[in-house]
Symmetry: C2
Subunit: 445 residues, 2 copies
């Protein structure tokens, strides 16, 4: 493939996301000359991304070419790699679904938008199966866990799910005052539900340093918390989860732990500091605001031809694993990554092979080889992993089977559901929305 | 073993239970001459059972001998079979634990008494391991699912869990007006969570007859419901579960289905008929009353030497599987039973081998051979089986690991829990009760 790799970006209307990929491609010599197809349903944003990407490649002399299209099948034709970062209907539709759920008693939503997302992923995977069956699909949009499992159960597409969450261990190191160069960690699990099974500083177990920090410094840290909404690694919720489950939750895991941290804003403020964390109305508002500001900055830079666009996107490697993984496959550069792949082997004992798990894997020209994880502690299995599997399985199978009963059961298992009628009414209103036709088609009784 | 089999009954203070076993032994020629050791902590009740059993065997010329003891280890010495039917602390302690939970917002209890029961089963199994390691343990007291799994994970004892629930399919046949002689059914799962995967009348699939009944007769049946509290097979809850999960729930399964049928008495009356079912304050009250009346009748009969005790316990085979299973093992009489045994094979795909499942098994002189179950429908797996596994796993591992966090998580997953404090307070009060020392010892932080 080398030299002539074709990469398709689904959801390329997010200029920030596209810019990150293009920049990483520009600093990866082995992928110079690649062709990138940008696909989005929003033509205006697509044009902007296209201009930005072209300028960046030209400035950095990466010899890449770009095309753009609003037609998904067209975009997939001949692709070697497909990156799916799309959010169906954008933030507005997600927020609308959250508000609908809130109206029915589900504070901060009931994850309904994940059903639409996962079903959309499956549509993309089916298009890949028909159009470019040998392509690798790199899935970055959420829900990675449920979406990747659904796609690998229902198609033969080679899927790799990616996330940034595992870098959370570096935040722990930072708070503990450890030099990150000497810190290593393992954190397997399910995406957004990963647990630090190993934490070493200069080769020695560093968990005692966390325990010591909890004992001597945590209260002062929590009392003087001015960290941003997404700094969750050492907040009270994460430390409480560490106690309950026996291992530190990493990345998005502390955000998503137990319903009892999330019953209302007051409770969230207790557990997640002054913003109430990523998923409070305050934290999430700040996140959306930040996303919007960044997108505007990218757009301004793309349109401003008075100065190089590489001033905005400095040509250094990001922490993003996407392009390095493509490089590993295309140029047989073996390296280890944190990925979401089917549990073949199994990689994590106790779960079926057709479930996607998050683990380390060696990736090279021959593909992806998951690294077997030592058995997870029984406390973590019973307390955290099996319950999370239960939840995922209901979402995955509801969509795969098109089964409205499983959709209902998913909501009935939600701790906020007080009676059958509450769940049934929410589902009825949700499926009646014209924007939700894809779900109505799937779940029509 | 034949002729000289030694059978130990733990919880023999229940004369009704003991009488059932002794009567079945009396009509099973291959087990005549057996010795039965009756064990209970209540000496007065034990004396009564002993007198009743001796009279019954003598009248029926079964040549059996009996001993009695309040010492468990003494009772186990030399046993070939141990039958554990004991309820720790009797109904009073169970009811007290229910009331405690109700005080904290858990209507009709939070299953706390099952923790004490399962831990007690493990104590018995450990005694067996030390005292009579080759004995078969037949577990009839609840929780069979969690208790048997716990015992088989933590000891090497050969455990068979038994229940009557699977006969529920006969109630379906009766309501449909089918001759039970021509009805066959399969209903694998977990104990008290079994599902009718096959239902045949004269060799033909009879599920359509259920559908037809639901369509044409169910409403009239529900409107004119005067069946007893424990007739749950065709009530609205069972039929609703059939819709939700795709298969008919059998035996105790419809009782224990979804929290949404059980939020309050009014809701229970809607779903379970005029008593609100087995587990409402009305139904359970009738159950306790019936148990107490039957026990009194047995006691009266045992004490009344003016007429044969075999008038009260007619010498016919009960439907109870206990004695036939002993006969199959002792006399190599191969037969098929519905049992609860470890999921070796696996018998039910998708669950670990160290989980006890309910299935059919052939039992003969060589032991118990579980019959592999065809893969359960994915809808049932995602909707019913995995969620129930989650719940069981937390109870089992909480006790096995002595882990108070898993006990807390078990309660946090309970749909009635509104916040951390509610669950923690209930646990604190429960563990502080002097009658609950065994639990306090296990869960001491």
């Amino acid at each position: 493939m080398a030299g002539g790799v074709k990469i398709t970006l689904i959801g390329a209307g997010s200029a920030m996301f596209a810019a990150g990929i293009v920049r990483d491609l520009c600093v990866t010599e082995g992928l110079h000359g690649s062709h990138v197809t940008l696909m989005d349903v929003d033509e205006q944003r697509l044009n902007m991304t296209h201009r930005m990407a072209t300028r960046l490649s030209d400035e950095l002399d990466a010899g890449m070419s770009f095309s753009k299209t609003t037609d998904r099948v067209e975009a997939l034709r001949g692709a070697d790699f497909v990156i799916n970062a799309a959010q169906v209907g954008g933030h507005d539709w997600t927020e609308y679904q959250r508000e609908l759920a809130e109206k029915h008693g589900y504070y901060r939503g009931a994850k309904l938008h994940y059903f639409g997302q996962a079903a959309f992923f499956l549509d993309v995977a089916r298009d890949i199966e028909r159009t470019c069956p040998d392509a690798w699909l790199i899935q970055t949009a959420n829900p990675v866990f449920e979406g990747c499992t659904l796609m690998t159960r229902a198609t033969n597409v080679k899927v790799i799910g990616l996330c940034h969450g595992h870098y959370g261990y570096l935040e722990i190191a930072e708070v503990l005052g450890l030099d990150p160069k000497h810190v290593t960690a393992k954190m397997p699990g399910f995406n957004h539900w990963i647990w630090m099974t190993e934490f070493k500083y200069k080769g020695q177990d560093a968990y005692p340093l966390i325990k010591e920090w909890v004992r001597t410094k945590s209260f002062n840290y929590w009392d003087h918390d001015d960290r941003p909404f997404n700094a969750n690694q050492m907040r009270a919720a994460a430390i409480h989860q560490y106690g309950l489950y026996g291992l530190m939750p990493i990345g998005d895991t502390p955000r998503l732990g137990g319903w009892w941290y999330h019953t209302d804003l007051e409770t969230k403020l207790d557990w997640y500091g002054p913003t109430g964390g990523f998923d409070s109305e305050i934290g999430w508002g700040q996140y959306l605001e930040r996303m919007s500001q960044r997108a505007e900055a990218v757009e301004r830079a793309a349109l401003d031809e008075s100065k190089p666009i590489s001033d905005t996107f400095e040509p250094t490697h990001s922490r993003e694993q996407i392009v390095p993984i493509i490089d590993s496959i295309v140029n047989d550069n073996a390296a280890t990554y944190q990925v979401n792949i089917p549990n073949k082997g199994p990689i994590i004992q106790g779960f079926p092979e057709n479930l996607v798990v998050e683990c380390e894997a060696v990736i090279d020209g021959s593909g992806v080889s998951g690294i077997e994880v030592p058995p997870l502690p029984p406390k973590l299995m019973a307390g955290a992993m099996i319950p999370r599997w239960r939840e995922a399985e209901q979402m995955i199978e509801a969509i795969r089977l098109g089964d409205p009963d499983l959709l209902l059961l998913f909501l009935l298992e939600d701790h906020r559901t007080q009676n059958l009628d509450q769940a049934e009414t929410l589902i009825r209103e949700w499926l009646a929305d014209p924007r939700n036709k894809s779900m109505a088609d799937i779940f029509r009784d």
